[in-house]
Symmetry: C2
Subunit: 321 residues, 2 copies
Amino acid sequence: MHKSAALDSQVKIRINDLIQPIADDLLSGAAEIALRAITIFQGVLADSEGDLPTPELKKAALTYTAKGLIDAQPAMAPLFHLGNDVLIATEPATTNENLAELCNNALANFEKTLCASASTIADTAYDLIDPGELIFAYSFSSTVVSCLLNARARGRFFRVVCTEARPSLEGRKLASRLASGGIEVIHTFDNAMGLVLGNCSAAFMGCDCIARAGVVNKVGSWMLAVACRELKVPLYALSGTEKFVTDERMFEFERHERPGVEVWDNAPKGVAILNQQFDLVPYNLLAGLVTEKGILKEKDIDPYLAKISVHRDLKLEAALS
Amino acid sequence: MHKSAALDSQVKIRINDLIQPIADDLLSGAAEIALRAITIFQGVLADSEGDLPTPELKKAALTYTAKGLIDAQPAMAPLFHLGNDVLIATEPATTNENLAELCNNALANFEKTLCASASTIADTAYDLIDPGELIFAYSFSSTVVSCLLNARARGRFFRVVCTEARPSLEGRKLASRLASGGIEVIHTFDNAMGLVLGNCSAAFMGCDCIARAGVVNKVGSWMLAVACRELKVPLYALSGTEKFVTDERMFEFERHERPGVEVWDNAPKGVAILNQQFDLVPYNLLAGLVTEKGILKEKDIDPYLAKISVHRDLKLEAALS
C-alpha cells in the first residue's frame, strides 16, 4: 500500500465543507458539476491557510479531495475522471511549484476538453433535431441543454416536451432554462411520458456514466427508454467520452440512495420509502450515444474503456483496504 | 328529441353542489366514487325542499344528476352505468311512489352488484398473490385495495410496492390504507417503477373503464404495462364488468384535463403544462382482466359490450344535440 502524508483534521473539515454543496446538488448534471469541482481543486491547491507546506501534504489533500468528490456523487463519471487526471498528473511532482503547475494544467485540460466536447456534441445533435418537430428531453443535463439552445440559436424551430423528474424536480430547471432561451416547452409529470412521447421525433437524455453494461442516468431513464422503443422514438444519450468508466465502477451508482423523506416526509408506519437516484439503460434500448467522437453504438465502446488508467488511490480495491 | 320537464335553476344549483365533491376527488377509484354517487341520487330523489312535486320533474332531476356525474368524471364507467340504470329503471314510472320504488331498487341493485363483484374478484385475485412475494399496485383502486386486504386477512403474507401516482399522489392513499391493514409497503416515486418491478411476482391495477380498444386507467398505467411486459411481470386489471363501456364512450376520458397549476403552480412564461389524467392500456400488454366473471382476455370482451343498452338521454349524440 502506498503511504500518503497525514492530513490535519482541520484541513479535512475545510475540504469537506467545499465538497458538501456538490453532494447536496440534486439538480445539476454531471458535466456541470465537474466544472464546479475544478474550482474546488483550485481552492485546495491555493492553500490559503498555509496548512499544506510540502508537496506530499498537497498531494494528500488532492487525493482526499478527489475521493470526497467521487463519494459525493458516485454515479458521476466526470468527477471520477477529474480527480483521476489530477492525481495522475501530479504524481511526479517534487516541489510545490512543479505540483501547482502540473495540477493547474490538468484542470485546464479537463475544462478545455469538456467544453470542446460539448460544442462538438451540439453540432452532431443539431442534425437529430428535425425542423418543426417535438423533442423529448429527460431530467437535467447541461449537455442536452447546450445542444438544444445551440440548435435554437442557429435558427432551428422546434418544441421540447419534458417531465418533472421526481423527486428532485430537475425537469423544472430544464423547462425554465429552455424557455428562457426562447424554446417553447411543454411540461408534464413523469407518468404522462406515454401520452406525449408518441408525438416526438426524437428523445434526448444526458448521462452520469457509461460502461460496458449500458448508460447510467437519473432514475426514470429506463422507463423512458422502454417507452421510446415501444413507440419507435429514437432515444439518444448525449455525453462526452469523459463519462466512460471501467467495469469495477459501473455499479457505484447504486450506492447513491437518498433519504426517504425527500419522497414523502411523513410516511405512515409500515411504509418503507425507497429513494434511489439512478438507473441503467442497456444499449439495445438506445438509438446511439452522441459523443464528441461521433454517434457511438455498443460495439464502439470497448476501446474507450480499455484506455482508462486509474490512479492507484482511486482503485476500488484500494478504497476498500 | 325527447322532451323533459324544465328544472328550476335552484334545483340545478343544489344538484351541482352535491356533484362538485365528486369532480374534485382526485384520490378515489371509480368503484368507490360510484358508491358515493348512490347517496347523491338518494338525496335528489328525497326532494327535501319539495321542489320536485311531479314524477316528470323528479325524472328531469335524475337525468340532470346522471349527466352531471358523468361529466364530473368522464372516464369512470361505473358512474355512467349507475345513472344509466337509474334512468332506464325509472322510465315507466307514472307516480311519485312508483318512481321512488323503481329508483331505490335500481340503486340497491347497483350497490349489491358492485359489492358482490368486489368479493368475487378478491377471491380470484387471492390465487394471483404468491406467498412471500412482492406485488406491485398502481394508483388507487378500491377493488385492488379490497383484494389485497382480503388476501392479508385470509392469512397470506406478502409485501406491496406502490408509487406516488403524480400529480394527485393517490399512491400515498394506497400505501396508507394497505399499511393500516397490516401489509408491509414499499413506496417510491413513479419514475422508479423500473427499479422495483423486476422483483415483483405480479402487478395489479384498477381501471376506470374498459372497451374494445383496451383498459382506461390513471395516467402512468401504460408506462407500467410496457415496463411489466419488458420485465415479464404479469399485469392484471382488477375490475367488475360495470366498467365496460360502448365504443362511443371509449375516448371520453381524454376530456378529463385538469388545471396545469396542479402540476406546477408557478411555471415560467413559455412553459405550457399538460395535465391529462388517464391513459389507455391495450389488451396485449395485460395478463388478464380479473372480473366477477373470472379472468377475461380480449376475446371475451365483445358479449359484455353488446349487451349494454344506453338510455336515450345519455347517448353521446343526444348530449351533443
